[in-house]
Subunit: 212 residues, 2 copies
């Protein structure tokens, strides 16, 4: 504290910018030539409940988000994950202690949505989750699913669509030396509030990420 | 008709056996060394709405079922797909016009459960689906999910778990020259009845299979 206050104003300002949180993170172009056989990923797929705590590199995070629900056919803007009636209802968030980002698949960018620390609301009583440096949250926006009016059916379809995205992440992790676990357990109301979700947007799953 | 009735009895009997349906189909040992990169599978993942009609080989069906929800860690009997609270609630059925089979992941076998033709109840109004020679059906057994009593929550968790299995199938198909589409649309009551499902077992998704 003493040391900081002795800095001239412009240095303090520069440090604030340096320690500030970025509004936009431009992800790296997906590396579609990454090695890793699908059958090996299926063989190695597992849920890991310890050893989180490392920060994921930008390279891995960029490719993981593309795998999760990125654009795999740019000409039609179609996704790696199918969705109910092509609703593209699942949004992928990356939550870190300093702030929460929404993945924009078309721009392949992360956009800051809030600065609240949601890790405790995601981890709940599970300490190994709380130790993770980043937790992916999958949210289904029921409003995007057309032709269905029954709210209970909508939320089931949203769950199915979130499960599909989750398995893309699980397999990417299995193929690339990452650890992950698929969790439904969280304080959904706090997470929805912290991510500024609209009505009809449901946090379905959360997945802490780390390295093996 | 005339030709058939002119056969002697023992020939008719032999033909019936030949055209009869097997109670158990022993699948081939999963070929875990199959080629196909995960990133290529993600790149090529798509929903196909035409061109079904070919029968899947035993080699491909064996590996697809293992990929879907087979045992990837024999020592602990863990699966390629995670599930809510490790409930292993998703059963995989293979429906053909002549009968319907349940996949036994531990024995890596298909077991006949009924002989009713469910393809029309699965296809509904979609002719391209009705033309498929086999349709996979994913059923969640809510009774296996412990610690949760809320029926609406149970069915969401079952939907998530079915979505996870579905994406294993989608990626296997993308990597191996098969076509597939993930569908929620079906006559669920007729399918549940035709598969002899117990109360609490919900048909979540169906996926016709064919070759590109």
């Amino acid at each position: 504290m003493k040391k900081e206050s002795s800095f001239p104003l412009f240095v303090t300002f520069a440090l604030k910018i340096k320690s500030g949180i970025m509004e936009i993170i431009n992800l790296l172009e997906p590396d579609e030539a990454r090695n890793g056989l699908l059958m090996d990923a299926l063989k190695n797929r597992k849920s890991t409940k310890e050893g989180y705590g490392e920060e994921i590199s930008l390279r891995d995070l960029s490719d993981l988000l593309w795998a999760a629900n990125g654009i795999n056919r740019p000409e039609t803007k179609d996704h790696t994950a199918p969705s109910a009636m092509h609703a593209c209802d699942v949004d992928v968030y990356v939550c870190k202690s300093e702030g929460n980002y929404l993945y924009d698949a078309i721009k392949h960018q992360l956009k800051l949505v809030s600065k609240v620390n949601l890790l405790p609301s995601l981890a709940m009583t599970q300490e190994y989750v709380a130790s993770a440096k980043q937790i992916v949250v999958l949210v289904s926006d029921n409003k995007r699913i057309q032709q269905i009016n029954d709210p209970s059916r909508l939320v089931i379809l949203g769950g199915i669509d979130a499960g599909i995205v989750a398995q893309n992440i699980n397999l990417f992790c299995a193929a690339n030396g990452l650890i992950v676990v698929t969790r439904g357990y969280m304080d959904s109301d706090a997470v929805a509030k912290g991510l500024n979700l609209e009505k009809g947007m449901h946090p379905m799953l959360n997945m802490p990420l780390g390295y093996r």
